[in-house]
Symmetry: C2
Subunit: 109 residues, 2 copies
């Protein structure tokens, strides 16, 4: 067996924790969109934000933003709670931040 990409080509099953890969893949697949990255960023910074504020900050359309928010909520990445007229969204899936951190700490990339 030869070397591939600076690591020995061991069995893939040993190399890859398929569970983790699928988790990360799902997360990144879901948030890999400029508007969604923007939303995640705001929520990481501010904890909770209502739709209107998100739209203003990102200069994004209300309806489109709402669609993206509910998609990410459906995917389990965001949560929401109503407070009066406003609905506040927040990061629910903690792994999202962990993936971001993990990528940053990764010395390989």
């Amino acid at each position: 067996m030869e070397k591939i990409a600076n690591i020995k080509a061991i069995e893939f099953q040993e190399l890859a924790d398929v569970n983790k890969l699928e988790k990360v893949s799902f997360i990144l697949k879901t948030i890999a969109h400029p508007l969604r990255i923007g939303i995640i960023g705001l929520l990481v910074e501010n904890g909770k934000m209502c739709v209107n504020d998100i739209c203003e900050k990102l200069k994004s359309e209300q309806s489109l933003t709402s669609h993206h928010l509910s998609n990410m909520k459906l995917a389990g990445i965001l949560g929401s709670e109503r407070n009066g007229k406003n609905i506040y969204y927040y990061l629910k899936l903690t792994e999202v931040v962990e993936v971001i951190q993990c990528m940053n700490n990764c010395h390989l990339l």
Copy 2:
């Protein structure tokens, strides 16, 4: 500022190396498909493989497999070289393996 996902909610720009995120996101978005994962796995194990062998191992249709291979090649993830009748594919983007490794080493997930 409150704690989110066990880390302090610092500025997102500091938290996230956007370059890395985009790289990883691109890679995982591209390979996040059962057949493609299978192909990557085979190539990590074996270094180089021709289309026919890949199809046999994965019990996948020849044409479909070929489409996926050429897509991944277009994306820069795979490379190929002809040897007689056969065309051999191999992992070209080393970051693919690095992402996999990085995920595994990541103690957060």
